[in-house]
Every structure is written in structure tokens, then in C-alpha cells.
Point group: C2
DNA sequence: AGATGAACATGATGTTCATCA
DNA sequence: TGATGAACATCATGTTCATCT
């Protein structure tokens, strides 16, 4: 009996999704952008979700970008579903015991690959934007 | 009796829409991007909708962006609704008589203002993207 | 058939409500 | 009460169908 790996299932699902409706290719999605940042944050700091949200909001405040709570969590869940991150549940002692979730990279190779992918898309987007300035001004 | 101008009605409608749901401010929308291009095309060339679509698809093919037919038309309609463009209907003689719609700027000031607005957003977006590269690579 | 337009469908993402420690 | 998660609502945009010359 042929075994089907998790990775294959995900690959198929992603492929199916991609072909349901063909994106026009205009810039990239916020989700990908956040996932890239969340990977980097996990690589460099030890933060739980809510802290990541606060950090990103501070970082981008001056640029008028304020990511949503749900986008952060959905991005983190995506990264877990695709086998890049895993949860590290911890109890934060305090007035009231508080469960928080930290993250850890479980597949460095995949993480690196994903970031490279997003990077290419960022480069492409910058080209589009620069072209627009050249063409319209 | 107080008269309400078209512009006021539109302004109100747009304002209402803006406040229904606050955008997070991540990059900008394809629609605004296209509207900017369509204004510029109208300023510089005499093209009807379908020709504009073809032109833009050619321009951006190498960058992997292929705008949709409906996005072009919706963008043109937006520009008409907001008093920036007007239609110039013409009959293209040929094997079969064919109605096409050209466009003309009817409010240069508004057109210029809109483009400037988009430009600011493009600059902001480029900043976000450059920051992302700096932060993640 | 080519050009336009509108209805519809779906994906991306923001808001609200629920849960849990 | 702070952190997380899921259901829901709405907007942006792609696809399909209709119309007109």
C-alpha cells in the first residue's frame, strides 16, 4: 500500500488551492509577509504570539501598518501546519497562572526556503513599484 | 433647499465605506494601482478599454503580473464615478460595426491629485518592503 | 467575434465572540 | 484579565454569463 506523507498531502492541497483561482500576480499577500517575519522572530528571539504582535506593531507604526491579531495567529498556525514551526506551551506564573505559547523552528531547511521564496516576491514587487513610478511620474 | 452635489455624495459614501472596516495598512490595493495607470494612459494615448488591458498585460508580463479584464473595467468605472474621466463612445467601422469606448480626462486637478495620493502610498510600500529585506536577510 | 458590463464566486483579511488558565 | 483560537462578516478581486454592435 502506498504511503502518503504529510508533506505530500500539504503540497497537493496547496497546489489545488493555487489552481482553484489563478491570482493575477499583483504584489504579494500580507500573510506571506508576516510568516517571513515570524520565522525570523522565532530564529532570533523567544516571544509568544501576543508579544510578536506588539513588536511588529511597534516596528511598523511609523509606516502606517498595523497588523491584526488574527493575522498573526493565522500566520503562526500556517507555519505549524506546514511543518516549519512547533508550539512550546508554557505556564507563565503570576497573579493568575497564564498559558502562553512560544515557538521553535523544527525544520531549518524549510524555514530558509520559505523565506527565500518570499524574498523573491518582495524583489519582484519592488520592481513593479519602481516601474510604476517611472511610468506615471 | 440645500443642494447636495455628486461629489459630496461620493465623498460621504467613500467615507462610510472606509469606516466600516479599518484596513491594516499593508501595501496598497491593485485597484488604486490600475487607476493611476489608466489616468496616465488616458493622458498620453488614445485607447479604449480592451487596448489598455492588452497594453498593461504586455508591460507587466515579464514581472509576472497579469491584470484581469474586470479589474480594468471596474477601475475605469471608478474613475468615471469619481469625476476624473468621462466616456467617449465611438463606432469602429469594420466587418461588423463595433462600439468602443475611449476616455478623456475631465478634471485634470483631480486626476493629478489622485495620482499623487497613490504615489505616496507606493513610496510607503517600498519603505515597508526595504525594511522587510533589511530585517529578515 | 470583439468589446463591454454585470452577476456571481471565492479568497484575503478584519471584527466579534468564546475559551482557558 | 491576558493570551489564544474560532466563527463570522466584509472587502478585494477573479470567473462566468449576458448584451450589444
Amino acid at each position: 500500500m502506498a504511503t502518503v506523507t504529510e508533506a505530500q498531502i500539504r503540497a497537493k492541497r496547496e497546489n489545488d488551492q493555487e489552481h482553484k483561482r489563478t491570482p493575477s500576480g499583483f504584489l504579494f499577500k500580507q500573510r506571506a509577509f508576516l510568516k517571513m517575519y515570524l520565522i525570523t522572530l522565532t530564529e532570533n528571539k523567544r516571544l509568544y504570539g501576543h508579544e510578536m504582535l506588539d513588536l511588529l506593531r511597534n516596528e511598523f507604526r511609523s509606516l502606517g501598518y498595523r497588523p491584526t491579531r488574527s493575522e498573526i495567529y493565522k500566520s503562526l498556525h500556517d507555519l505549524i501546519d506546514t511543518g516549519i514551526l512547533e508550539e512550546v506551551v508554557e505556564i507563565k506564573e503570576g497573579l493568575k497562572r497564564q498559558k502562553v505559547i512560544y515557538y521553535r523552528i523544527i525544520n531549518k531547511q524549510k524555514a530558509k526556503k520559505y523565506k527565500e521564496l518570499v524574498r523573491e516576491d518582495i524583489d519582484r514587487s519592488i520592481k513593479i513599484l519602481n516601474k510604476a513610478i517611472k511610468d506615471n511620474f
